[in-house]
Every structure is written in structure tokens, then in C-alpha cells.
């Protein structure tokens, strides 16, 4: 049974983290008290009737009595969200989705691509130890985490290269859980370099265009290897990499 409820949340602070990347914090103990890492919320970008759907955003981090969202401004919805000001009220449904399957006292390897790493902070805050590998196109796409290994495509931060170059057999072997989040192409590349024997530990945070976000519209299907689809919003967004039909998923585009 889901604990999701629909809340009127007050914006407590807004911060431009990187160019075109905004962090908005909300006061909402209803969500923060029940959320788990990897879960997301459905937020109304504005009070206007358009857009007709909400926007799904991963819970980046919990604050004392609320949570932070960190997002890329890519279209109308996120543009409207970026205009939010402290004191504004937004309607937020959450927490939604399944989250990472993290055993207690686990040792995590986190592999993130660009803004895909947005939700890692919550995960890092929740586990005993986390090794974080981040790949980004360049300086302006690197979300700051405490301790992490970073590579960039243009070499502006860390070594020049792709995040796959940071993935070592040692890291894979040591991890209880391997959590991957980022653009589909990046996640596919990471999946590609992970040897068969470690794949069972790999969890993938998927994305899909969403209608409802709470399981009723069947609009957010992720193709599964066993055939058919599963719902990103309620059965995901986190799936085991072994469950996903990578080929059909890539064909979907987004």
C-alpha cells in the first residue's frame, strides 16, 4: 500500500546550482517522513490548467522537515518550476515509486551520468558507505557531491573520458548494490561494461514520460526482458538491470 498523498507544499528556498539547473526545496513533513531514496514526486509546474500533466522529479535529498528537488530546465514544465519563489505553494504528490532496493548496512557503488546523479544525495545519506562515480559532459554538468570520482567528456573536471572508464572490476566486486542513474545511452554503456557475474547486483533508475505517476494510466511502460512492460511509476522507477529489455527500451527514445 502506497503512502503517497497530495500535498500543498511551500517553497523554502531556490538555488541555481549550475547553468540551467535549479534546486527547489519544499517544506513537507508528510513526504519527508515517508520517502525512501530513489522515490520521486509528481509536481504541478503552475496553477494554470496547462500543462495538463504534472512533472516527475526524483527526491534529491531530505531536509529537516521537507525535501529538495534538483532539475534540469529542459521545457515548459521545468521552466515554470524554475520560476518558483520562496513562499510559493505547489501541489506535490508523493512519495511515489519503488526506490532503490538497499539492504541494511550495504556497501553501494553509485554510477551517475550528468544530472541523472540528482537523486544520489538521498541515497548516499541513507547508506553506510557509498563509492560515487560520475561522468558528465563538462564542468557545467557536474553536480557537487561530497566525495566522488568525476570524469568529463571535455576534461574540464577530472580526467577526460566517459564514466565507464571509472568502472573497475574491484569496485564492482566490492559492492553489495550497484546503482545506476543517468541518460539511457549512458546507462546502456555502463551495463555493457559490467561483466555478467556482477549484473545481478545492478539496479537501474529508469525514466519515462508520465501521465499520472501513480499507476492508473499505463503511460509509463518500460519494456521488460520477460516480454511486455512494467510501469515506471509504481513498479519502478528502479528496476534490476537484468529485468529490462535494453534493446526495446532504447528504441523507445523518450
Amino acid at each position: 500500500m502506497s503512502t503517497a498523498r497530495d500535498f500543498d507544499c511551500q517553497v523554502t528556498y531556490v538555488e541555481q546550482v549550475l547553468p540551467g539547473v535549479v534546486k527547489v526545496a519544499f517544506d513537507c513533513s508528510g513526504i519527508s517522513s515517508s520517502a525512501a531514496p530513489g522515490q520521486f514526486v509528481q509536481i504541478e509546474p503552475s496553477a494554470d490548467v496547462f500543462p495538463v500533466t504534472r512533472r516527475p522529479i526524483t527526491i534529491n535529498r531530505l531536509t529537516g522537515s521537507g525535501f529538495e528537488l534538483l532539475f534540469d530546465v529542459v521545457g515548459r514544465g521545468t521552466e515554470l518550476m524554475a520560476r518558483m519563489q520562496p513562499g510559493d505553494i505547489a501541489r506535490v504528490l508523493g512519495p511515489l515509486g519503488s526506490g532503490w532496493k538497499i539492504p541494511l548496512q550495504s556497501n553501494c557503488l553509485l554510477i551517475g551520468g550528468g544530472l541523472g546523479a540528482a537523486g544520489f544525495q538521498f541515497l548516499i545519506d541513507s547508506v553506510d558507505s557509498a563509492r560515487v562515480l560520475i561522468g558528465a559532459s563538462g564542468l557545467e554538468r557536474v553536480i557537487p557531491f561530497g566525495a566522488c570520482h568525476v570524469v568529463t567528456e571535455d576534461g574540464s573536471v577530472g580526467e577526460k573520458g566517459l564514466v565507464t572508464s571509472l568502472v573497475t572490476e574491484k569496485y564492482l566486486a566490492e559492492a553489495d548494490v550497484i546503482a545506476v542513474c543517468g541518460p539511457v545511452a549512458m546507462m546502456e554503456a555502463v551495463w555493457g561494461v559490467i561483466p555478467e557475474k556482477y549484473r545481478g547486483k545492478v539496479q537501474i533508475s529508469t525514466e519515462s514520460r508520465m501521465g499520472c505517476g501513480w499507476g492508473v494510466c499505463d503511460g509509463c511502460s518500460i519494456p521488460m526482458l520477460e516480454g511486455g512492460y512494467r510501469k515506471c511509476c509504481t513498479e519502478g522507477p528502479v528496476f534490476y538491470g537484468t529485468e529490462i529489455d535494453w534493446k526495446r527500451w532504447k528504441e523507445a527514445g523518450l
Binding site: R209, C217, G219
Partner: protein, 291 residues
């Protein structure tokens, strides 16, 4: 009819405090509604479409939002009637309001076949027969565009059930008034006006449609006047109740549809923004009535 219209309705011999039905495909099978506790103000729930065989549905992306509406290409994904009967309806039976089951088919016979299986359940009060599905034998045109085929489907269903059923018409071709009359002639106890309007979004940079099936179902609050017109036309032509479907985003929209002749009013896409839309619409209507 008296104006302004009352929100209390009598439909299929039952009294309803609310005219609002949650539209097929936008409320699953009821399980999530129970979870989220968003059933206040809901008169009745219509399940997503049930077909005989399980259907995986269309490849993603299945949704695409346009500036003023939503395109959907779900493809009637559902686990098939036997699974629904065994595993889903027992849960849906826990809903605090009446349930209608939306029925899909690829042939005239399939509709009746699905209903025949569902007759074993007592979770639902009746059916909504979705004749907007593509008729495979007829090259994929919707059943609903041909009154003769609508008559056959409706007759087929009325032969296998004593429960009331509504035939959900399509606005994409044909003459809805003729199809409505055919549905009633075949035994339908209501008609639903109407399913989604065909729409498309073109990526002009590539000449490709983002949605793999190219055309999709389009919904938007801006379509309300199209639905009001069609409800009014059909309500003036048939004697059975008309259930409206489409375009509702405010309480005033619901009142317009009731005034145009709808007995019950479905809300679908609005649930994507507002899971508690039914309660909100009822509140808005009460405020308007008090004015």
C-alpha cells in the same frame, strides 16, 4: 429538465450523489484509487479496457504532451479477461462506489466473449463497450463508425448479459447520432459520448511522429465545446441516458454537460493533474449553485 441542473442523478435505476465517473483508462482497475483514497465525490468508476487475450499494449513512448493537451497511445494494455476476473475484480469489489467494466474487442464476437466471462463476477454493475477499437476484420477502422456494426456489437452483448451497458462511441468518422441509435436498437442502456479524438504531433525536424503508431488519442480541456455539441446532439436523438466523456476540467464544465443532456459525466485527463478531481469538481459545482 430543470436548470441549473442538479448534481444528484438517477442512472440505471440507482441514485447517485455525484454525476462524476472516472473515465476508462485513467483510473486503472480501482486498486490505486483505494490506495490514494481519492474516491470522494466519485459517482462511479470505469475500469480500463479489458480484452479477451492479454494485451501488452503499444511500444513506448505512449504519452506525449502538447502545449494544450495530451496524446495517448496506450494500445489497450491489459492482462486479459481471465486474469481480470480472477485477480483484479476481487480487489475492485472493495470500491465504495459502483464499477463499470470497459470492454474492448478486435472482432464483433470478442465483445460478447469478454462480457460472458465477466458475468461470473458481481463486482460491477454494468459495462461500457468500447467500439472505438480498430475492427481488425474491417481493415482497422473503428467499429463505431459503422452503425450496422455497432448494432451487431450491441446485440451480441445484450444476448449474454442482463446487466445494463453503455456503448462508447467514437468521434472519428461516421455519424455519431446514427451509431447511438444503432447501439440503442441493439439493446444498449446508455451511450458514452465519446472516446478520444484522433490527434498527432509531428517532429518537423525529422518528419517523424514521436508516437510509434503515428496517430494517437488526443484529450484537452479545450475540446469541451466539441463534446458539449455531440452530447447535445445525441441526447436529443436517443431515449437512453448519455454519459459524457471528454474535456472536463472545472465544475462549470460538468454543469454545461449536464445542461446539454448528459446524465453522468466522465473525467479522465484531469486526473493526471488532479487525482482528487472528483471532489474538487463537486466543490466547485456547489459553489456555483450557491451563487
Amino acid at each position: 429538465m430543470s436548470f441549473p441542473p442538479s448534481v444528484s442523478r438517477n442512472f440505471w435505476g440507482r441514485d447517485f450523489d455525484s454525476p462524476i465517473m472516472l473515465a476508462s483508462g485513467t483510473s486503472g482497475f480501482g486498486e490505486e484509487l483505494l490506495d490514494l483514497q481519492c474516491l470522494a465525490g466519485v459517482g462511479a468508476v470505469v475500469t480500463k479496457a479489458v480484452s479477451f487475450q492479454p494485451r501488452a499494449g503499444n511500444p513506448p513512448p505512449r504519452l506525449l504532451e502538447t502545449p494544450f493537451g495530451l496524446l495517448n497511445s496506450i494500445g489497450l494494455a491489459n492482462p486479459g479477461v481471465h486474469h481480470v476476473l480472477k485477480h483484479i475484480l476481487p480487489v475492485a469489489a472493495g470500491l465504495p462506489c459502483p464499477l463499470l467494466i470497459n470492454v474492448a474487442g478486435e472482432s464483433v464476437e470478442e465483445f460478447a466473449d469478454v462480457v460472458r466471462v465477466l458475468e461470473k463476477s458481481s463486482a460491477h454493475i454494468g459495462y461500457e463497450i468500447n467500439v472505438s477499437c480498430p475492427n481488425v476484420a474491417d481493415g482497422g477502422a473503428a467499429f463505431g463508425v459503422d452503425p450496422e456494426v455497432v448494432l451487431q456489437v450491441s446485440r451480441g452483448v445484450s444476448r449474454v448479459t442482463n446487466r445494463p451497458f453503455s456503448v462508447k462511441l467514437t468521434p472519428n468518422g461516421g455519424d455519431m447520432v446514427l451509431s447511438a441509435k444503432a447501439a440503442v436498437k441493439g439493446g444498449a442502456s446508455a451511450v458514452t459520448v465519446c472516446n478520444t479524438f484522433l490527434g498527432m504531433h509531428m517532429d518537423w525536424k525529422t518528419g517523424k511522429s514521436v508516437i510509434k503508431r503515428k496517430v494517437a488519442g488526443y484529450t484537452s480541456p479545450a475540446l469541451l465545446p466539441l463534446v458539449v455539441a455531440r452530447v447535445w446532439q445525441v441526447a436529443n436523438a436517443v431515449s437512453v441516458p448519455v454519459i459524457s466523456s471528454g474535456g472536463v476540467s472545472t465544475g462549470e464544465d460538468v454543469l454545461q454537460l449536464l445542461a446539454a443532456g448528459a446524465t453522468m459525466v466522465q473525467v479522465g485527463t484531469r486526473l493526471m493533474r488532479r487525482p482528487f478531481a472528483a471532489a474538487e469538481l463537486m466543490d466547485e459545482m456547489k459553489k456555483l449553485a450557491g451563487e
